[in-house]
Symmetry: C2
Subunit: 133 residues, 2 copies
DNA sequence: TTTATTACCTATTGACATAGTAGGTAAAAG
DNA sequence: CTTTTACCTACTATGTCAATAGGTAATAAA
């Protein structure tokens, strides 16, 4: 399941995209519009800033801004950042896939196919595809 | 993420399909072949029996058998049974989707599209498709 | 220089799900 | 009547999720 972190992150990115101007957008406003606890959103935007998907500026007149145009973000990169992985099974998510049954596993091809389906779906969707503006 | 219950259930179904004969297949044998704790598998086969995907017979010579041919099982029905739902987000999984933002939610179409993708993928795959025999 | 506003930081928590384990009872065949 | 099997109820350690709490640092305007 996609967690609230991933889903909220998309909504935050959308909110910033749709309310873009020359000014920075304070988190307070995003939280109010999206009806999400500002405290919880702090965790999420922190990750977005660290990954350089958005930029944050402190102080009066501060807030957040996109680093690129909405066309240049994929939903996949946002989700993968927040979820850690998009893989549907542990053996495909972990870096070192040391599953001893790997060679003979009959179900592995199924999971690989599903994994690719998910990846292609989300990396094929841009932020601008689900954006009003 | 697909849990071990779902993944093990598929392997159990596959194991029974591939070792089918006139006899019933004891769980002990399945557990040994699949390298999964028999105790844990008990929980899983219980659900499979309750849902009438397999049939179990107690006593000496007992064990488990499929109720249909492998062509007549979809991976989707096995997974959905074990996972409870295949929906990637809570608002599509719960019976009563009373999310107040439903009407104006910009991300809902994305999740609905993803939901359909998952559903079609797993219900389009038959047990026989990933079966050796 | 003070005040208001904003981001940013560390720690904590309750609830719940996952992935099992433990120790039995019932059923059926030889 | 013993062995083999399914079936049943309860328990538990661990981890993740979804937040909350209470601060500090940075910046602009008064």
């Amino acid at each position: 399941m996609i967690t609230t972190k991933g889903r909220y992150a998309i909504r935050v990115m959308l909110d910033i995209a749709e309310n873009e101007s020359d000014k920075f957008i304070p988190l307070k406003d995003i939280a109010a519009r999206q009806n999400i606890s500002k405290k919880y959103l702090e965790i999420i935007v922190k990750d977005l800033v660290n990954a350089k998907l958005i930029v944050g500026v402190s102080g009066k007149g501060g807030g957040y801004k996109l680093c690129r145009t909405p066309e240049d973000y994929t939903i996949g990169e946002i989700l993968e950042l927040m979820e850690g992985t998009l893989s549907p099974v542990a053996c495909l998510a972990e870096e070192e896939n040391d599953c001893p049954r790997k060679a003979e596993c009959e179900t592995l091809p199924l999971w690989e196919e599903f994994d690719k389906l998910i990846h292609d779906f989300f990396y094929g969707k841009k932020l601008s595809d689900i954006c009003k503006k």
